[in-house]
């Protein structure tokens, strides 16, 4: 053994000499990721400590799980959990199949130019900023002046304000999300469909399968690996409803259903400067998401051999 170690040592030195240019190319990226991604992870200990302005991040007194129990015993805890879970589960249940269905439909369009035009159009909303998206909802859904708002109040014969009602917050949030992203998210499925060998369709045709059967038995099975990977990733986000859109859609009237963990962390932490308490809430959120991701990945690995790692 002792004779191997110096050899190994020499080999890594040689490799370092050989690869030093590769290291130079990657070190800036490593430095930026350490500073902005890993140092905040070190700062997570704030969730277990008091924050001391004069002594910095790690200087405050150790409080253990104090801030976690403060959160769990908070009267808002169950409301926050319920709102967060309802918004993200509805987004997953309705939003996850939408791009798959869209890809299956687009894949049936055989005219090349029509397909390209449709794709160009459905990808486009993805590039609209969240602020503009919510602004668009505001002008279109406004009950007095918005074209959709007027249409809906005529159809429903009510004077409902879709933007300021506890009943319509989740549907408006989810449907607009599908409108904006289903097209873009279908790209990855279309790519998977384009790898299906045409001979499979020919063989199916000879066996007398109709187009519907081909979708069921050729297209959908071809998508399964992609579906599983993306589903695991989306489960890792169960408590991660994007902060920005919820925050921008919030108003005092829909707040009972629109206050979620991330917006609460922002208000408690950034606006009221309760750093330790809000760090604890944030960590609570991250850990649950991480747990879901790992569990889903484990289930999938056991049952289908498809996994993220």
């Amino acid at each position: 053994m002792s004779s191997i170690t110096p050899n190994k040592h020499r080999r890594s030195l040689m490799e370092l000499k050989r690869d030093y240019q590769l290291w130079i190319m990657i070190i800036p990226a490593i430095v930026v990721v350490i500073i902005f991604n890993y140092i905040p992870m070190y700062g997570i200990q704030l969730a277990f400590r008091d924050y001391d302005f004069s002594r910095g991040l790690a200087g405050g007194a150790w409080r253990g799980l104090h801030y976690f129990s403060q959160f769990i015993n908070n009267y808002q805890f169950w409301d926050l959990m319920r709102n967060t879970v309802i918004i993200s589960i509805t987004t997953i249940v309705l939003g996850f199949p939408a791009p798959i269905i869209l890809a299956l439909i687009l894949n049936q369009v055989k005219w090349f130019r029509t397909k390209k035009l449709l794709q160009t159009i459905v990808y486009m909303p993805h590039f609209i900023s969240i602020v503009v998206m919510v602004g668009l909802l505001n002008v279109l859904l406004s009950p007095n002046t918005g074209i959709l708002g007027q249409l809906i109040s005529k159809l429903g014969d009510t004077d409902i304000n879709l933007l300021a009602s506890t009943n319509s917050f989740v549907p408006v949030f989810v449907i607009s999300d599908i409108w904006q992203h289903a097209g873009w998210n279908s790209i990855i499925y279309l790519a998977a469909l384009s790898t299906v060998s045409p001979s499979l369709y020919d063989a199916a045709k000879i066996d007398g399968a109709n187009k519907w059967k081909m979708i069921l038995h050729i297209d959908i099975p071809a998508l399964v690996p992609t579906i599983i990977i993306l589903f695991i990733l989306s489960m890792g986000n169960v408590l991660g409803t994007g902060f920005e859109k919820v925050f921008l859609m919030q108003n005092s009237l829909n707040l009972p259903v629109s206050e979620v963990i991330s917006t609460y962390v922002y208000k408690i932490g950034i606006l009221s400067n309760q750093f330790s308490y809000s760090s604890a809430i944030g960590l609570f959120n991250t850990v649950i998401n991480f747990f879901f991701l790992v569990t889903m990945n484990w289930i999938s690995k056991r049952n289908s051999d498809i996994s993220l790692w």
Binding site: A29, P40, G135, I147
Partner: protein, 300 residues
Amino acid sequence: MQATTNHKRSTGEILFDISIIILCVLIFLIVAYPLYFVIIASVSDQTLVSTGKVTLFPRGISFFGYEQIFQDMRIWIGYKNTVIYTVLGTMFNLLLTIPAAYTLSRQEFRARRFLMFFFVFTLFFNGGLIPTYILMKDLSLTNSMWVFILPFAVNVFNLIIARTFFEASLPKEIYESAALDGCTHFKFFFYIAIPLSKSVISVIALYYLVAHWNDFFTGLIYIHSNDLQPLQIILRDILLSNQVFSQGGGSGGSAGGYAQQFADQVKYGVIIVSTIPILIVYPFIQKYFEKGVMIGSIKG
């Protein structure tokens, strides 16, 4: 195609094709109409728009909204800031991401597996808002333009897309034979890798560019001074907080009425003016999307 097989199409098949056509038309209308409506509403008489009389074509042409926008200094300061942040930010992103992706794509580079894990881990776990906020404060990045440019300069998804592209298009053998002729990694990267990967670099540049242009969060959390605010914060004030007119007058709010109609026209106009740069870049890069995403989807 039908002629060559020369068999009669069954009713079921015809019905299937018809339903596909109907679905496609519906999808087209659902996605395109709201976008089209914003355009025609921004140049129409607002009394007609708010009573639902503008549906297919602009009516009672009026450029009031755009006149207001061109006079509003807030929008132009925001525009200028966002252009600076986007250009510098995207350049910095590419400068870090593309070389790092090249290194990670070299199979003989032994640390690549560990470093890949080092990057990917940040996708699944992070410090959270508050520790990040305190870090930015300690680095004096709050209320500074650099907070838009330096942090999170490497997007792991983009890194994977570029790495997978380099792996597929620059096999080890090409580098090895070039290395025999004395080609170093630097030379190989500049003279062979970069010219070959224009498509993937443009896709990644577009992703970064859009992310910077649409960034609202950074301004909200880290910037207090109005002179540094990006366009998206100004847009929030105008579109959502209803501070349409910079003088403060005319924000009709829920009172509705006359002022609200004019406010709406400004809003339609602002949506267009703020989204134009992206719509200009979009067609040039669109053809690379599928390529980019397809490469990215291959698990490495």
